[in-house]
Amino acid sequence: MSQQRQVAAKLGEVAFDSGEKASAEFFAITYGALVQQMITDLPQADDVEVVNQQLDTMGRRIGSRLVEEYSARSGAPACRTFAQAADAVAIVGIKMFLNVNATVQPAEESGGDTFTLTFADNPLALFVELPEGPVRQRLWYSNVICGVIVGALSMVGFIAEATFVRDTLRGDATNEILLSFKGREKETFKVEQ
């Protein structure tokens, strides 16, 4: 691990320690109840993608607020490049809010604008089993995390896409999110003439 990442990992640990703690079980069960309700409310039982979209949308709204807390509590500097932002998400942000050690590396043949975030443990998936069928095949159970990442990054000027590509709930060995840079937010501060 480079020295920069060691510093970032330390920031994540300290930020997690300094925050108010909630029971991981309570958090996981609350989230589970939410997802279950979304699935129950589906007008068509097969439309599992609708739940993925709802979780993403909800996550974006959460992310746009969480980034303020990230900034306040971690003391991490603003990121100038998307590579730095990907590091910050994986090493500081995920550690700070989920207490999970994630790794980040450039995705193969991406030209530097796509990164793979990998984490073995997923606190949202505690006690969860997905039923066989369309839910297991098409639901990204923790898709709210992707929304949070995209929502947070947009508040600091990065337009990004985040999608799950591996999920232990589907039988994969680990959890993987693909994080892609799509552009910079335009300056929005308006100045009167």
Partner: protein
């Protein structure tokens, strides 16, 4: 020490919060927009004129008053007007804490507030908490 007024702007340049304490002149029509333009322009001057290309704008002082500036990673900007002798480094620390403590607790975590264009702070709790905070920091 004397505080005159405070403006907080969001990333769109909307004046989402204004408060005055010992201000002696009446507010003028459209002045929040002028303050927004002023701090934004000075911040960009700072970047363009610096030898390193990096920015940084903390305060500007006139014979009669001083304007202190700070901003968050997410584009919230504050302009605090005070008497001319209030120390820059003291206020920088206070404004940083204001954003990380008071603003976070009473604005970011308020479900009635959202980071959208045109949304102003309507809760009175933030204004009251801000007064208490500035009192505790001994600048009010």
């Amino acid at each position: 020490m004397t505080l005159y007024s405070i403006y907080i702007f969001n990333r769109y340049g909307d004046n989402i919060f204004y408060k005055e304490w010992n201000r002696t002149t009446a507010p003028q029509e459209g002045e929040a927009g002028l303050v927004a333009g002023f701090i934004y322009t000075l911040q960009h001057f700072s970047s363009q004129l610096s030898s390193s290309g990096e920015g940084g704008f903390y305060a500007v002082r006139t014979p009669l008053y001083k304007l202190h500036y700070n901003e968050t990673m997410t584009g919230y900007r504050v302009a605090l007007l005070s008497d001319k002798d209030l120390k820059t480094d003291v206020v920088q620390n206070i404004l940083r804490k204001m954003f990380s403590d008071v603003f976070q607790r009473y604005v970011t975590k308020d479900p009635n507030y959202s980071h959208t264009q045109g949304r102003v702070i309507t809760s009175t709790a933030f204004g009251e908490a801000l007064d208490q905070f500035f009192h505790s920091q001994k600048i009010l």
